[in-house]
Amino acid sequence: MSTMDSISRFVRTRITRIVIVITLLSAVAGYFFSSPEINNLNAELNLWNMNIITFTLFIGLITIYFSYSKSVSQRSTNWPFRLYALVLIIVWIVMGLYSGLYSDMYQTAFLSTKITLHIAILGQLIFFYLSAMYRTFRVKTLRTGILVIFALAMVVLNSPITLSNWSAADQISYWLLNNPGMGGARAVVLASGVGGVVLALRILMGLEKGALRATGG
């Protein structure tokens, strides 16, 4: 094993574990115990974390650049569109840096492109939703029946036409949300909370190597 490999292994296994223990415990201990020193350390680490995260915004650019330029040079599928995307990225960056994030021009461009597309892509889902619903919401078993009844109840009771003609619809809708619906929602929140705590403990104990191992080597 070369020196570089030894150093990289030492950093990825030992150093990262020490760093994780210090950072994670300072955040937790600072909240549950009263200690100005731990609070100061935690506050400083929070600021460092925020500053480091800012650099991750550039990773997408580098990744896309390498991927798309390879695709263009090899003339693979969709290469004209990828070339177009690479050019548009540069144009957009120049426009953004020149006009500023809060300028009317940038805002109009952003709303007319990204937001419009995002809304259209997400709005298309309603077509697939309704066609999937037509196929799958068929009451063959008790389970499907329960699913269908409560989904239908939510849609009908929240509809403006129901609310304007039947005053009790609003109260029934909120009762369903706040009582039978609340039970399941609370269970999901509780169980995911327990899962999150377990994940943090596994990270603390060094059992979760996923993100750090993904740095390669």
Binding site: A27, G60, I62, F81, I119, L142, I146, A187, V194, T215
Partner: protein, 211 residues
């Protein structure tokens, strides 16, 4: 009357290109897809540049020289892209993971777990107190929560004298979750409906000038 604004025309063309996917995969959708990707990446970079200027302002102004450390760590994190030097990104990644997990876990313990457990216990104590109609709702809430949590956390089978009643408990919990999923699906479909409305209104009202 059709809008003369070029941005409205661009918006309408991109919306129609996106909806063309319903007809099948085609070049127009590919154009819209790559436009979306490019704008997202471009926006991230522009946002990154301006955020860096803000985050490291105290360093530029000479107020806090300690910020050199996160500056170096931030540059190190970019090395995660190259396999050979990816180990350099391990330390800043460890800081990001440790700090965010630490902050998250205390909220999960405080709010998601203990908060909900306390709410269930206090509601359990108030089932027979006050208005009977409210008491029924409270009973439903408490019973449904307990059975659904039981289903989530104890979904393993074992053979014993208590396995039969516990199986009924688990099955009831499963139906409680189905109720929640049904309610969630109903609400989610309304959310997507609103997005479809917004997209179509952009075409019909903003672009074509109807309505």
């Amino acid at each position: 009357m059709i809008s003369p604004d070029p941005w409205v025309w661009l918006s309408a063309i991109l919306t129609m290109c996106s909806f063309s996917l319903l007809y099948g995969d085609n070049k127009f959708f590919r154009f819209a897809e790559h436009t979306f990707t490019a704008v997202v990446i471009g926006h991230n970079v522009v946002m990154g540049v301006f955020t860096l200027k803000d985050r490291f302002y105290p360093l530029y102004a000479g107020q806090k020289l300690l910020l050199i450390i996160p500056l170096v760590l931030g540059i190190m994190v970019i090395f995660m892209i190259w396999r050979k030097y990816a180990w350099l990104a391990a330390i800043p990644m460890a800081i990001m993971i440790g700090v965010s997990q630490g902050i998250t876990v205390r909220a999960l313990i405080n709010t998601d777990v203990m908060g909900n457990v306390k709410a269930v216990i206090s509601e359990g104590a108030s089932i027979f107190v006050g208005n009977p109609a409210d008491g029924v709702g409270t009973l439903i809430r408490v019973a449904f929560t307990i059975t659904a949590v039981f289903y989530f956390l104890f979904t393993f089978t074992f053979k014993s004298t208590t396995s039969r009643p516990l199986e009924y408990f688990r099955t009831f919990g499963k139906y409680v979750l189905l109720i929640f999923i049904g309610i969630y699906v109903g609400n989610q479909s309304m959310q997507n409906s609103m997005l479809a409305t917004s997209a179509i209104n952009r075409l019909v009202r903003n672009w074509l000038g109807f309505g």
